[in-house]
Structure formats: C-alpha cells, structure tokens
Symmetry: C2
Subunit: 208 residues, 2 copies
DNA sequence: TCGGGCCGTCATACCGAGTAGTACGGTCAC
DNA sequence: GTGACCGTACTACTCGGTATGACGGCCCGA
C-alpha cells in the first residue's frame, strides 16, 4: 500500500528525495552538498532527483520549510495553551529540545538556513522570505510567553525579544552537538528536562 | 611604522588577507566564499591572496584558530581567577558574549568551523584536529567552573559537560543574530549582562 | 488474450559556468 | 640586481542542470 503523502504534496518518490536531502545537507551544509550526494543516499543518480525537483535550491527550501513547519505545529499549541507562562515556557522548551534531537536532520538543516539568512544570503532564490517570516513568527511565540510571564511577575523584565535570543541559541545549538546515533529516548527526555530547567531558571525573576 | 605582527606570523599583508577573509567567510560561509571574494574585500586579485597563503583551507584555518585563541586568551584567566564559581562564571559569560559582538567576524567564522566539525567534515585538510582540541579545552573551562559551583553548593547538580552545552549554544548564537553595524558599546554591555544573568540563573541551584 | 501506446521513473551522456590553484611577468623599493 | 608584492592569463576540475532514451507497468482496443 502506498505511503501517506507528505504535506509538500510528495508521493513516496519525492519524500524519498526530501529525506535523503535532509541527511546529505546535515552532513555537509547546503553549498558543499552536491546533487550526486543526495542521489547517493538513495543509491540512485541525478536523473531521479531532477525528476521530482526543479533545482537544488528547491530541495533545500522544501527540507527547511518542512522542518520549520513541523516545529511550529508542535510548539504553537503549547504556546497558546492555558496555564501560567512559566509552565508553558517550560513545555515549549522541552518540546523544542526534543525535536532538535528526534528530528535531527530536518531541524539541523532548518538551523543551517536560519544561519544563512542572517547574512542576507543563501541559496540564490526568492522564496527565502517565507523562511524569514516563519522564523520570526516562531520567535514571537517565545517572546509573547515571556511578555506574559513578565506581566504575571514571574519572569525578569528584560526586553522579550532579547530574552528569546539566548533561549533559541541554546535550543538550536542542540543540532550542532547532539548525535542521534548515540542516545536513546531516555536521554532525549533527560536533556530536554535539563534545557527546560536551564531556560526557566535563566528567565525567572530572582529574589536573591 | 609597521603594525604589530599577529600571532600567526603575519606581516601587515598577511594580516590584511586574514581580516578580509574573516569578513568574507562571515558573509557566505567557507564553501560559498571564493578566493575572489576575499581579494575583492581588499580591492585586489587572487595573486595577492596566494602570495601569502597556500590555499583557501589554510586561510580558513588561520581565521578560525585566531578566533578561538583570542577567546581562550580572554576567558582562561577569568576561569582560573580567584573567587566563587558563580562570580567567575558570570564574568566568563559576560566576556564571551562581548567578544561574540566585538570580534564578530572572527568569532562568527570560528563558530562556523565548530559546526562543521561536529559532522566530522569541513575543509578537506588535516589540521582541523587542532580546532577540535582547542574547542574541547575551551568547553572544559566552563565545565570545570560548573563542577566547582556544584561542590560549593551554588549550582545545580547536573552533568557539567551537559550543563555547558546550552551555555555555549546561547553564547555562540550571538554571532548568528547580532549585527555589529547596528549597535554601540552600551548595547554590547547590556546584552552581555543579560546573558550573564540568564546563564547564572539557569544553572543556579534553585530553592523554590 | 494480446499487442500497442502512453506515462512515470530514472540512468546516462553531455554542456556550460564557475572556481581553486598555478605560472609567469611587471613594478617598485632597497 | 634582487626580492617582495601582486596582477593577469591560464589549466584542470567540479558541479548544476539538460536532453535523451530505456524500461516497466498500466490501460485500452481489437
């Protein structure tokens, strides 16, 4: 029976390319990854890759937007749930950290793209704008929760957008150091808990 | 009068190449930066660049090791100073954050290299090992201070190497989002203070 | 039932552009 | 005269992307 279509409108063939590309880009980054590298992941050749995608940049964009959309889909409900800001922030951080580990390839590539965007450059195409919009929207989820925590008197009063920077830096850096081949589920939970404790402690208003 | 020789044995010419390369690599990353890009920074051509450096990879390595050595030179004395662990940690974080902003180009490239290294790949040459050693040595500075804080009872008891990961992630991510063209010294201090407060709060043992 | 046509899939060969690096020669200061 | 410096022209190679053809499966008509 056929596999479920992914949200990028992919049949199984396109999805295969997407996942192979995520692995390849994770390894070498966009510029140093060749179409042959992606094809090699599937024991295929470039003809197969170009059957499903117009260009290398299109493949990269699809990997990145899939990663960011996955993250948004997981974190937005947590951000918008009921509950005090501290608890919601902890859950958002835990979930984000977990995804950096369990969706390592796609999230690693999404982080690579965020890093490219800061320089105003990346694969030379126009749709990078979508990535920027989603990243800003995502960052605002955290800033809004921080702002609410400040109104509740539980979080320190620094500029919420600034407060969000170290949080996302810490979380995104997981994709740099975490090796998914080495750890199990229990380790994922342990690390996610540590990150939640770190971030909440770092933003909480102290009474010392 | 001649400029001071840099520690890489550079005369002014070689230092010019180094600084131009730092800017160029910051903009586009190692793979997407050409030797022409570096030469363009100096309104020169490749002949000039190749007069001072054997290869593109050698230039990159020089930029990266300069960045990491600068950081080690600043942070190691703070790590090894007298004082309780909390205070030393705060100073280390503040100084690291400041350097991510004030030495943005070199530190950005050093961070790029760290990210490449995690994948076991990078510019295809052998001396990447030195970078790995310095990075681990650097990370251990933080881990040691965290361990001492745990012995003093002021920091939470998590594994010090794990505790260091979000710290360095937060700090290194500054090179991704901070634009040195937009801010002044006062902003640098404000952000550095925020990061110190965030990290110390995040690692401090809570009594709530 | 069989054969032909069509379509999706994918490998191969090729082209053009770009880039790392080299060789060489010119200029200038000492 | 020599050497440092550096620009120019060039080579070799890589890689993104294209064109083409083969193959297998499916469908339909005879």
């Amino acid at each position: 029976m056929t596999r479920e279509l992914s949200r990028s409108g992919a049949g199984p063939g396109r999805q295969d390319i997407l996942e192979a590309a995520a692995v390849a880009f994770t390894r070498n980054g966009y510029d140093a990854t060749t179409i042959d590298d992606i094809a090699d992941e599937l024991h295929a050749t470039k003809g197969r890759v170009y059957h499903y995608y117009r260009s290398k940049a299109d493949i990269f964009l699809d990997v990145v937007s899939t990663g960011i959309r996955d993250l948004l889909a997981e974190i937005r409900p947590l951000a918008e749930a009921d509950g005090d800001a501290l608890a919601r922030l902890a859950r958002m951080v835990r979930r984000h950290a977990a995804m950096m580990m369990t969706r390592n390839a796609f999230q690693r590539v999404a982080v690579q793209a965020v890093e490219m965007r800061r320089l105003g450059q990346g694969p030379r195409y126009e749709s990078l704008h979508d990535i920027v919009v989603m990243r800003d929207e995502y960052e605002q989820l955290f800033a809004d929760v921080v702002a609410q925590g400040q109104r509740e008197g539980t979080l320190r009063g620094t500029d919420p957008r600034l407060a969000t920077k170290p949080v996302l830096g810490a979380l995104n850096w997981i994709t740099v150091w975490y090796d998914p081949d080495l750890a199990g589920d229990q380790v994922v939970d342990q690390i996610a808990d540590e990150y939640a404790e770190f971030v909440v402690g770092g933003l909480r208003k102290g009474d010392r």
